[in-house]
Subunit: 278 residues, 3 copies
C-alpha cells in the first residue's frame, strides 16, 4: 500500500457501502499525503458503478482529522490543479460534493480548520455528543478559512452563527454544533456507529440513478459557486504571507502543536493569549 | 358539491379566516381530484378580498395527506398548465407561495412525498409532537422529489439535513422536524389546535395590504426560481419511466400500499428491503 | 457631549474592544438622534485602526432598544443619504454589516421593529433567556418591516419561521429566538455578560486583517443585496401613507405607546384587538 492508502484506509463493507478511515498517527494531521489519499479515493469512487455511499470515519477517537500541517508538508495542493481544473484543495471538496456517491462524516474528537471544511463538504455530518471539538480556528492564528468554510457555514447555520464560529475561533461541542446546524445530529457515542451504519446501509439499498438525481437537484440550490471558493483560497494564500500569521503559527508550534497530545487537544483555548509571551 | 370540493372541504371560520380540510378516506391520497380541489380553492382565495389566512387541516389524524396516488389516478397535473403557465403540480404550489393570503399547515399524521412538498409550499408549518410522520421517501422508491421538496428543503434546513431527509427517505417525527427547521414548531397534540387558531385569528385581524407587502418582500429572498422547480418536475417525469422505479412502485403496491392501513402508516420503514423478495 | 452621544454612550474597555450603550430614557425609542449616534459611532469605528469589536448593550434592562418613534421624530433618516449613498436608515445597517469591526448585540428586554432590524444587522446576537422580547410587529400596525428585517430573517431562520415572525407580529422570547436562529444563543441573564465579554475580548486579541478578511468572505455569501434593502424601504415609506396604518398607529399612541411603561412592555399582545374600540 502507498503511504496515502495507509493514511486513508478503505473498508469495503458491501459493494455499495464503503468506509474510509483516517489513520495517520498520532493526530491525523492533514498534509499532502492525506489529500492524495482523498484524491485516490475520489478516483475509485468515480470508477465504481456499484458504490452508493462512503462513511468517513477515524481510527483515532480523539482526532477525527485534526488540521492543516503547519510545518510545511502540504505540498502543492493549493497550486496544482485536480481533475475539475480547480486547485487540489478546492477540487477535492468540490468533487466530493458533486459526486453521485453519498458521503457521510461520522465524527468523534477534534475536527478543526481544513478538517472542518472537509466535513462541511460531506453530504451529511453526525457527531458524538461526548467528545466532538469542531471549529474554524484560523482567525485566531492570523488567517481565515480558505477551503470553503466561510462559504458553506452561512448556508448551514446562518450569518450570525457562521461569524461566531469563524471570528470566535473556538471549538464547538456536538450539542452546540447540532443546535446550530453545523452537524446534522449529535448522538451519544454509544449510538453513533449504529445510527450511521443503519443510514448508510439504507442508502446503499437504493438505486444509484435516484440518489444521483436527488443529490444533483439539492446541489443546484445549495452549493457555493466555484469562483467564491477560489477567491477564498487565493485570499488564504495571501494571508499565509502575513507576518502576524507567521508569528502566531510559530508561537503555536513552539507551544506544542503537532507534538504534544494535550496541547493538540486544546490549542484553540489558548488562541487569545498566543502572543502574550512574545 | 363536486368530488373535489368534498375532498377539500372549506370551512369559513370568519370572512378573513378559512379552514381547508383534507377529507378523502381512507388515506387522503393525493390524486388529480385533490389537486383540482386545491386549484378551486386557489381561485376562491384569489377572488375574495376579505380573506387573510387559510389553515390546512385534515379530517384524518393518522393521514394528514399521504402521498401521490401510485395507481395512476394523477390525471394530467404534470402536463396541463395552470393559470401561472406552469404545470398544474408546480402551479398549485407556486401560486400558494405567492398568494397575498397566508397559508398555514396544521399537521397530524403521515405527510410524505408530494404531501411534504405541499406543506413546504405553505407559508408556515406546525406539527403535533405525538404522531407526525413527515418525509420525502421518493429516493427509496427509485424516484426523487419532483414537486419542490429538493428546492425548498435546503433553504429551510441546510444542505446536510436536506440530503439526510431526501437520500435517507425516512420519516421525521415532529420533534426532529422542528429541530431541523422542517416545520416551524412541534406542539403537544392537545395544544396544536389552540396555538394555530390563535395565530390564524391574529393574522386575520391585520390589514390585507400589510400582509401582502410583507409576504412579497420575504418571498423575494426565499422562494426558489420557477426554472429550478420546472427542472425538478421534468427530471421526476423521466424518473417515472425508469424500470427500477416501476419495480419498486409495484413492490410497494403488492405489499399493501393504498390498501392496508398498517402498511400505509409505516411503509418508509421497509424501503431498504423492498426488492429483497423479488 | 451631544444629545446623540448621550443616547449612545461609548465605553472604551480596551483600544480593541468598545461597548456602546443605548441610554435614552425612558424606553430607548429609536429616533433621529439615535440614528445620529449610530452614524457618529460608525465614523469613529472607521477611523480607529486599533478597534476589533463593539458590543451593543443597553442601560435599560427592560428596553434594549424599543422601536421607531411613532410621534414623528425620525427626521430625514429615510430620505437623506449616508456615506454609502444609501438612505441613512439603510446606510447605518449596511455599513455595520460591512465594517471590518465586529458587532455583537447583547440583548435584554424589548427589541421590536427597527430595533430587531438593528440587531439583525449586527454580526452576532446573544439574548437573555429571562426577559428577551424580540419581534417584527410592523404588520400588526398596518405596515411591514422596512429596515432589512424581511431580507435578513429568511436567511437566518428560513422562510417559514420568517413569515411566522413577520406576519404573526408577536414577541419571541430568548429560548424560541435561539431555537429559530433569530439569535445565536440565549443564555441565563446571570451568564450573559460574562459570555459576551469573554467572546469580545477573545476577538479583540486577534489580528485586524484576519478578522476583516474572514468577515468579508462570509458577507459575500450571506448579505442581502442593496437593491432589495432599498426596495423594502421604499415600500415601507408608501405603507406609512396608508390610512389603515395611520389609524393603527394613532390607536397605539392613544392606548399608551411611548407613554405608559406597562403598555410599552406588552403592546404587541393587543395588536389583534387594536381597531375594536374604534
Amino acid at each position: 500500500m502507498t503511504d496515502s492508502a495507509l493514511r486513508l484506509r478503505v473498508i469495503v463493507e458491501t459493494p455499495a457501502y464503503w468506509r474510509a478511515v483516517f489513520d495517520s498517527p498520532p493526530f491525523n494531521i492533514v498534509d499532502a499525503a492525506m489529500f492524495q489519499g482523498l484524491q485516490d479515493l475520489l478516483a475509485r469512487m468515480d470508477a465504481d458503478p456499484s458504490l452508493r455511499v462512503v462513511v468517513f470515519d477515524s481510527a483515532n477517537p480523539e482526532f477525527y482529522l485534526s488540521h492543516f500541517d503547519l510545518t510545511g508538508k502540504i505540498g502543492n495542493i493549493m497550486t496544482a490543479v485536480g481533475p475539475s481544473g480547480l486547485p487540489i484543495l478546492v477540487d477535492t471538496f468540490v468533487r466530493l460534493t458533486k459526486s453521485p456517491v453519498v458521503s457521510i462524516a461520522k465524527i468523534r474528537g477534534c475536527v478543526r480548520g481544513v478538517s472542518s471544511e472537509f466535513v462541511l463538504a460531506c453530504d451529511m455530518r453526525f457527531a458524538a455528543l461526548e467528545n466532538t471539538r469542531l471549529g474554524q480556528p484560523e482567525v485566531g492564528v492570523g488567517l481565515h478559512p480558505g477551503g470553503g468554510g466561510a462559504e458553506r457555514l452561512p448556508r448551514l447555520v446562518g450569518r450570525g452563527r457562521a461569524l461566531e464560529i469563524v471570528l470566535g475561533a473556538s471549538d464547538f461541542d456536538g450539542d452546540t454544533a447540532a443546535r446550530y446546524g453545523y452537524v446534522n445530529r449529535a448522538l451519544p457515542d454509544a449510538e453513533l456507529d449504529g445510527f450511521v451504519d443503519v443510514l448508510a446501509r439504507r442508502i446503499a439499498s437504493f438505486d444509484r440513478r435516484a440518489i444521483a438525481a436527488a443529490k444533483s437537484l439539492v446541489n443546484q440550490v445549495s452549493l457555493p459557486p466555484a469562483d467564491q471558493l477560489l477567491e477564498a483560497l487565493t485570499s488564504f494564500q495571501t494571508a499565509l504571507t502575513w507576518p502576524e500569521a507567521q508569528q502566531r503559527v510559530q508561537a503555536l508550534l513552539k507551544r506544542g502543536l503537532q507534538r504534544d497530545v494535550d496541547f493538540e487537544n486544546r490549542w484553540p483555548t489558548v488562541l487569545d493569549t498566543l502572543l502574550e509571551t512574545r
